[in-house]
Amino acid sequence: METVHAIELRHITKRFGTKVVANDNIDLTIDRGEILSLLGENGSGKTTLMNMLSGIYLPDEGEILAEGKPVSIRSPGDAFAHGIGMIHQHYKLVEVFTAAENIALGLKGKEHERKAVAAQIRTISDKYGFGIDPDKKIYDMSVSEKQTVEIVKVLYRGADILILDEPTAVLTPQETERLFDILRAMRADGKAIVIITHKLHEVMAISDKVAVLRKGKYIGTVNTADTNPQKLTEMMVGHAVSLNIERPQAKYRDLRLEVKGLSCRSGEGIQTLRDVSFQTFGGEILGIAGIAGSGQKELLEAIAGLQKAESGHIFYYPPHPNSDIAGYHVPVDKAGEELVGKTPGQIRKVGVSLAFVPEDRLGMGLVGGMGMVDNMMLKTYKDNPGPFVDRKPPKALAERLIDELEIVTPGVNAPVRRLSGGNVQKVLVGREIASTPTVLMTAYPVRGLDINSSYTIYRLLNEQKMKGVAVLLVGEDLDVLLELCDRILVLCGGQVSGVVDGPSATKEEVGLLMTHVGGGKEGEAHA
């Protein structure tokens, strides 16, 4: 009882509005020389809790103790005064400044002049093995380098309690390993480290202790050595969950889309896709992996007709009318239908559906301020003749989806923005599936979802695959892609880096392909 903790949280409660209790009476201790994982599903209150340590929110109730003394942290400045530094999920860096300039930004005094800063950055960098160049501009940096700058920034300001919010979300497996090495070095140096995450295998790999939150409540802290992913999941979800993702075999598999030499440029003239060629089949889930911004979004948009192709072709082969009874067949006898140059509406009529979920779920697929009914007719509102919209079919569809997918909503006209992430995703995917697509494209379909909802989405995708739909899935969690997909197409800098078989590929193999075209071995691997 007499041990003094680096940080101790006592009975912390934080509410948003009157109904949302983000943190409910939470106790937590953080110690030096230790890595603590803060584990919980999205919306369980992890980030809120840490934001109270870093001076972004004030707790409504409870107290924070630093080195055994009660403190009030009212601003990020206060947090630094207590040695607390947080590395947020979204980096807060000035793109046109160098690393050193970003790190010294806002600090006054002679000791923060450029040369002194650079020297000190090199010292920190050597100590923990960051390998950072203080004079490099941020816009020249990769995502992992930017993250490194953020970490060095808080260290430079004297933080010895580091909080990292989902630090691995945007990193490749190799970069993640490097980050973990750095974290271990800092632990050895006596720093207290908290990593916020919902990835179980990372928790197991890096942390000494795991604190679990569920729906804003503190469930408990366990030693990592005494637990396993199954037990942690139960703590996180509240009941036993099967962690296996099925990969059923479809009865038939026929060529559906053939992309040949596709190149695209962004509005600013930057090449986003370079000579991309691959095939995708009905009855197959084709995963698309790559570092964020490698052309995944552009590829899906190009197929859906939302991006202009600079060159290349996209051929569509309709399903064979007898495909239900056929085995394997690739209709090479007939010419495919060229999709390049068609409008999104024409492509949709062919049967290509884009259930694209961008970085913020409500940004593109759904209209947050509208109810389910109005969202159902987003792509079909023009189908009836006359100047007026017909809300009867979309209303019937909304009611059917609520029933079939167990969507929890106050009503068909309640704005979808008010629904929880899982329900929003069900609305979106449900609508796309209801249009009986022959190609279903989806990106990050489980981002921000709890485990149960994620598995519902996987099940829906598998159902579509079994019906002979060609499913294209852009994902970020390699473990899931490897378990769910039949094949995985890896993009790197807008190019096809390789295609691997889902059942036999390894994470390391995919990780290498993500950073080097061709993965530095085996050469080109076009399917």
Partner: protein, 362 residues
């Protein structure tokens, strides 16, 4: 422990409030405006009761007063309706002033030069059409630039106002000048003046029909749906296969056309001539009307009438109690401030230090 360290007042976002409570807050803000304005009356040495009595009787006391109030409300309502689709689309059209003026120019051309050549009903219809087309085309310019090059519509539409007002000034002193040197455009021929119904020019019928039409357009048509989707997210609209640029231009033309129609109503029905102050700030006040009504066309009727009452009442105040014109402006300002300000309390609540233990989560 940390109590004494926490700030004195904090803000917290509210959950959706029950309807009744929302209206209670709005009512309270109205009462607050009445009380604050009462202080102004007291400072000026008048009893507040006398002041409000004068305002009410001046605005609504006699049939002629009511007619004048309605005349103020007509262009406000029409223009608020005109900008509603743009605002729903999050296209910040603050150029209604110029679009009204453009419409008035179009209508005036036919009133001045075609009055003797066309039969009366045809003349009025042609004037209305010309007003709508002029207003629409004037609004189309910033929409085109926005759709094509992504220019900022707020600045663009604002600047367009001054250009159009300048054009009218030039017409006043140049080609359309009546008596040389007068800087005034002559009065319209009586054929070009909107007939009166129930003592007020029939513009009130036009704007009431517009109210219903805009309501139906926004709520039940495909185009209205497209506008709502774009307002929420242009990306979503594109994803759904809508051609955003085309819709922006179409909506702005429609908006400008309605504002242009208001210009025709004002020039023909109220002013019987064209002058550079034809819009008289209505294009800006209508923004307040549209927001206070939360873009609901029927609520706009009530709000524009309320503003009509305030303005007419304030006028009467000036003449009868001989208060300076600025006092009536202050009172109008206080009412608008309170009514707009209360929306803040509908969305946020204040938490005072120490006073936030009310609802412990159970």
């Amino acid at each position: 422990m940390h109590e004494q360290h926490s700030p004195l007042i904090r803000l917290a976002k509210r959950d959706a409030m029950p309807r009744g409570q929302v209206w209670a807050i709005r009512g309270a803000s109205f009462v607050a405006a009445i009380l604050i304005s009462a202080l102004i009356f007291l400072l000026m040495g008048h009893s507040p009761l006398e002041g409000y009595g004068t305002m009410l009787s001046g605005a609504l006391g006699k049939p002629t007063a009511v007619r004048q109030t309605v005349r103020i409300a007509i262009p406000l309502l029409g223009t608020a309706l005109a900008i509603a689709p743009c605002f729903k689309m999050r296209f910040w059209n603050i150029g209604a002033e110029g679009q009204i003026t453009a419409g008035a120019v179009g209508a005036s051309y036919f009133a001045l030069f075609w009055a003797d050549r066309l039969p009366v009903p045809v003349l009025l219809v042609v004037m209305a059409l010309a007003g709508a087309i002029f207003g629409g085309l004037w609004a189309l310019v910033p929409a085109f630039f926005k759709a094509r090059w992504g220019t900022n519509e707020t600045l663009f539409t604002l600047m367009m106002n001054y250009i159009m007002i300048g054009v009218v000034k030039w017409l006043q002193g140049g080609p359309w000048e009546g008596r040389p040197g007068s800087q005034i455009i002559p009065q319209f021929d009586s054929a070009a003046v909107l007939p009166k119904v129930l003592g007020v020019h029939c513009g009130w019928i036009i704007v009431l029909v517009m109210t219903v039409a805009v309501f139906i357009y926004m709520k039940y048509t495909k185009q209205g749906y497209e506008i709502a989707v774009i307002g929420e997210s242009e990306n979503t609209a594109r994803y759904a296969g809508m051609s955003v640029g085309k819709i922006i231009m179409r909506t702005m033309f429609l908006s400008g056309a309605m504002a242009g129609l208001v210009g025709f109503i004002v020039a023909s029905g109220a002013d019987n001539t064209l002058h550079s102050g034809v819009a008289a700030g209505v294009g800006f006040t209508a923004i307040t009307v549209a927001w206070l009504a939360q873009l609901n066309p029927f609520a706009m009727i009530a709000i524009s009438m309320l503003l009509g009452v305030l303005e007419k009442g304030a006028d009467t105040l000036q003449t009868r109690l001989e208060v300076p014109a600025s006092i009536s402006d202050i009172i109008t300002g206080i009412f608008l401030f309170c009514m707009l300000g209360c929306e803040f309390f509908i969305n946020y609540r204040l938490i005072f230090r120490g006073g936030h233990k009310e609802v412990a989560g159970k």
